[in-house]
Symmetry: C2
Subunit: 200 residues, 2 copies
């Protein structure tokens, strides 16, 4: 069975044939929002998929010492991908360095921690703007059978995630900024607990 990256590669190839280089580019931008890989890893996994008969390639002579290889799915590859899609995901361990830093933030100067969160917030706000403009590029929500439905649904998730993250940064900043250094100021009526405010 391929690794998860293997399935990511198959998922991209299901939308059309690509070279390893092009796969690397796709892993950098659209797919990279939820699964990244360097070209070295992609080449390694492509060898494995090839050995398992899930992909094949057409060689063309390209730049550099080697031939350019345009990969495409085999029927077996498509079948493996289809079977994988509806299998429950293996629970990947959450690994979130910012939350870990927050867990230890009681040790640090609040003003410095606030700097950290201001930088993070700016980053998230930038991504929100970027995702929103990408969402606006869809004339209407794609329907289920089209490949672009996958893009749209992933984008929706990414946007929702960035907003959650930005909200958290703002909540942290409200606590942090209210206590500048060592004087007795209290953060009282700042941002509230995340008790559902969308009304249901």
């Amino acid at each position: 069975m391929p690794s998860t990256l293997g399935f990511a590669i198959l998922a991209v190839l299901a939308r059309g044939a690509r070279t390893g280089y092009e796969l690397t580019a796709v892993m950098g931008r659209p797919v990279g929002y939820f699964w990244t890989a360097r070209h070295s890893q992609i080449h390694t996994d492509l060898q494995k998929l090839l050995a398992d008969g899930l992909v094949r390639f057409e060689a063309e002579h390209g730049p550099g010492p080697q031939d350019k290889k345009v990969y495409h799915l085999t029927p077996e590859g498509m079948a493996a991908l289809r079977a994988w899609v509806t299998e429950p995901p293996r629970a990947r361990p959450e690994r979130d360095e910012l939350v870990l830093k927050t867990y230890a933030s009681w040790l640090a100067d609040p003003a410095e921690v606030a700097g950290l969160f201001r930088a993070q917030l700016a980053l998230h706000e930038e991504r929100i703007a970027q995702y929103e403009s990408q969402q606006a590029d869809f004339a209407e929500t794609p329907s289920l059978g089209e490949p672009s439905f996958g893009n749209y649904a992933a984008l929706w998730c990414g946007l929702s995630y960035e907003r959650h993250r930005a909200d958290w940064c703002r909540w942290m900043l409200a606590r942090l900024d209210a206590t500048p250094r060592a004087d007795g100021l209290r953060a009282e009526g700042s941002s509230e607990d995340p008790r559902r405010d969308t009304g249901h």
Copy 2:
């Protein structure tokens, strides 16, 4: 410089001395929500921290062939941890198998994909209930200088994340359930885009 897990260990030890076994337990529950590790990895990293002089231990005779070792921070370890807290986190690549599956979901039967999301939603709703009860255990929001501020802030983030995730599952299910199999039913006025509905 220690690995991120190394700092996670330091962050736990900053709250009190622990054995490797106890660290494993903590990595399973409170810290495990944002940074997990198996005991094998913890023992390996503990050796490195020991070699770097960031932790030391007191040996007591415990069960099993080896002595029980109670680890605590050295002043150097505390300094390293304090310095790390306010450094910007290295951008960890997003790796989200469910979103990857969603990206390829146009290939699968919507009814089966819906099953996947129903299971995920149930999981998130369970965690929300769990986190909410944990949040209720805090009489009031801890103040910045206390260790429990770190716990509270991490919990706030976790709760917000689970709600975002549950929202996304519900949005997906609204699209998925409206198109049972192959007949021409359209999902029209279901759940809307994540355009800010909290009003600000």
